[in-house]
């Protein structure tokens, strides 16, 4: 076959185009056998947490301290650049859609523990342009601090304000660095990861372990697990459930 310069350039061009398209093509959803997906769904692990609002002791911050200590969460000291993984806020701020004076007066002054909801349908994962945040098969919404480009699209998409950005180098603001967990660099987003590093060792999350009042119940969503029993036998609320994010933190009233 005669190949002239024009033809050569055309073939080279098409080859590069195909190479460039390959990663995008890999991302297209692949068809999965129907029975395989339903079978794995029954067996799939799904972590969830129940928070008993009334058992949670007012003024106690043991869980927050434990979490922030082992995850090297800095104490920046101002609201503008604050970084937090777990925190407390008033009932009205946590459940703004519950505009019912009776409910609010019952829970008046009660603070509610807030953290990443590890949504089943996480909007932050949907918007991330680099897959630096993604959902694991067991439901944990993860963060890759090395891939994050710091565009903060996930912060705009999260309905719960669960994500914090490192506006500057956080390391000088960490009281005591725990070497068993990485510190972060400036310019990346971070949040609660359900203590995935502790779960991998067979431990429960640090906040659950730290709670002296049994207000936090954590486990797999299986009928024999306690978390499943308390959620199915109590009236629970989930934050902004109407948005369809399927949050996996259940608040027991």
């Amino acid at each position: 076959m005669e190949i002239d310069r024009r033809k050569f350039l055309q073939i080279t061009g098409l080859t590069f185009l195909a190479l460039a398209a390959k990663p995008a093509f890999d991302l297209l959803p692949r068809p999965v056998a129907a029975n395989a997906s339903s079978a794995s769904q029954a067996e799939a692990k799904r972590w969830a947490m129940a928070i008993d609002i009334e058992a949670c002791k007012e003024g106690c911050t043991d869980c927050i301290t434990a979490c922030h200590r082992i995850h090297n969460v800095p104490d920046i000291g101002n609201r503008k650049e604050e970084i937090k993984w777990v925190w407390k806020d008033s009932f009205a701020n946590s459940f703004p859609e519950q505009e019912n004076r009776l409910v609010e007066s019952t829970f008046q002054g009660r603070s509610v523990l807030l953290l990443c909801n590890h949504c089943d349908n996480p909007p932050c994962v949907r918007v991330c342009p680099t897959q630096a945040t993604w959902k694991r098969d067991d439901g944990i919404v993860m963060m890759d601090y090395h891939r994050c480009i710091g565009c903060r699209y996930c912060m705009a998409a999260c309905p719960y304000g669960s994500r914090s950005f490192n506006w500057k180098d956080p390391r000088p603001y960490i009281n005591e660095v725990d070497d068993s967990y990485p510190t972060r660099t400036r310019g990346v987003v971070e949040k609660c990861d359900f203590c995935e590093e502790r779960l991998a060792r067979g431990d429960i999350p640090a906040c659950v372990e730290a709670c002296k009042y049994g207000a936090l119940i954590f486990g797999e969503m299986k009928p024999e697990m306690e978390v499943y029993k308390v959620i199915s036998s109590n009236f629970t609320l989930r934050r902004k459930a109407e948005l369809g994010t399927q949050p996996q933190i259940y608040y027991i009233l």
Partner: protein, 382 residues
């Protein structure tokens, strides 16, 4: 053709020098941000996007507005735009570069920006915005440069530019639509969660882009000795008129839906923007300035005697630019974050280095534009 940028008069070199100085000032401010992080800006945990993303949105609009010349000229053979069309195409090039640069300076880890290519993510609208903006930038560089080059050589432009020009028309609509989808697809932000966002963006783009083009054409006529023709300016001014009327109409539609339905979550953001909320009024004077300028410019533009007076027209175009820059910049981005998801109000005030970086990016666009327009002048004069 590129050689024209190297020979110019005193006024040309003064312009280039001034823009280069401003660009340097911006670069120094950016160096601060590079070393310290985005903490040097006024952005916060609650208001996590600010002046950079506001400007990004505005300049995507300016870039898209070139279609308002390309469409009548190439599809309907509108002769009046024959001389001004190249100014519109090159304005799109500069505006596109400015828009992309604003995203870059907003990144916390700019060195990792190529992760967007390394891990292409079709479910992220930001990924698609990057794709459509890059292609649009390329389209306008190629179309503008090749047609000007043909004019320089005194030949008709090659035939393969025709399909590119046709593609560039819907593509211009797509860049601003996709940009609107970045905000309009977030259930977490009721302020942006409206299908009207893309039409609103396009309407205000078709006012602000052509207004900037008129100003540039008037500058070129006064100091560059290049006249695009009285008729072309009047036609572009009419486009600005109806762009402004549609923008105001769409804004009123939003206001009606929000305040009549009384849906509390959405209403809080608009209340903060227009009337202030819980004693916080940060954006109120800005937004009302924008609305007043909208009304004033519409009245002035509808009067054909005023519209045809260059002095009045320039003043009106400046008013249009200020009005739209507020409406789809600060007035669009900031209220999306105020009040926060937990109902808090943490106001946003840009810092001095942040403003200097914005000025730097503007001058980068100005520099690109000055060089490209110099080439146009060179070709037209020879």
């Amino acid at each position: 053709m590129i050689e024209y940028i190297f020979k110019g008069g005193k006024r040309y070199w003064l312009t280039i020098g001034a823009l280069a100085l401003l660009l340097m000032a911006g670069a120094v401010a950016y160096l601060m941000q590079w070393n310290t992080g985005l903490a040097i800006t006024g952005m916060s945990r609650d208001v996590s996007w600010g002046l950079y993303i506001a400007n990004f949105t505005f300049f995507v609009g300016v870039a898209a507005s070139a279609v308002m010349l390309v469409l009548p000229y190439y599809l309907h053979n509108e002769k009046a735009f024959r001389k001004i069309i190249i100014l519109g195409e090159f304005l799109a090039v500069a505006a596109c570069m400015v828009a992309v640069t604003f995203v870059l300076v907003d990144l916390g880890q700019p060195a990792r920006v190529f992760n967007m290519f390394l891990y292409p993510t079709p479910n992220s609208i930001l990924f698609w915005d990057m794709v459509v903006l890059s292609v649009y930038l390329l389209l306008n560089i190629i179309i503008g440069w090749v047609t000007l080059d043909a004019e320089n050589k005194g030949v008709t432009p090659p035939g393969w530019t025709k399909p590119l020009i046709i593609i560039s028309i819907p593509w211009a609509i797509s860049i601003h639509t996709v940009t609107a989808f970045i905000y309009g697809g977030l259930a977490a932000r009721p302020f942006w969660l409206t299908a009207l966002l893309a039409p609103r963006f396009l309407a205000s783009a078709f006012a602000s882009g052509p207004a900037l083009l008129i100003l540039l054409a008037l500058v070129m006529r006064r100091w560059g000795g290049f006249d695009t023709g009285e008729e072309s300016l009047d036609k572009v001014a009419k486009i600005v008129t109806y762009g402004m009327i549609t923008t105001l109409f769409f804004l009123l539609l939003e206001v009606f839906t929000i305040f009549y339905s009384q849906e509390p979550e959405a209403m809080k953001h608009f209340t903060y923007l227009l009337f202030g909320l819980d004693g916080y009024y940060g954006l109120v004077p800005w937004m009302w300035l924008s609305i007043i300028l909208m009304c004033v410019s519409i009245v002035a533009l509808l009067n054909s005697r005023w519209r045809r007076n260059p002095a009045v027209l320039s003043a009106v175009c400046i008013a249009v630019l200020i009005s739209i820059w507020i409406d789809k910049g600060l007035g669009l981005i900031i209220p999306g974050f105020i009040p926060s998801q937990s109902g808090y109000i943490f106001e946003y005030v840009p810092t001095f280095p942040e403003i200097m970086i914005v000025v730097g990016v503007w001058s980068l666009g100005g520099l690109v534009l000055a060089l490209l327009y110099k080439v146009v002048l060179g070709v037209r004069k020879s």
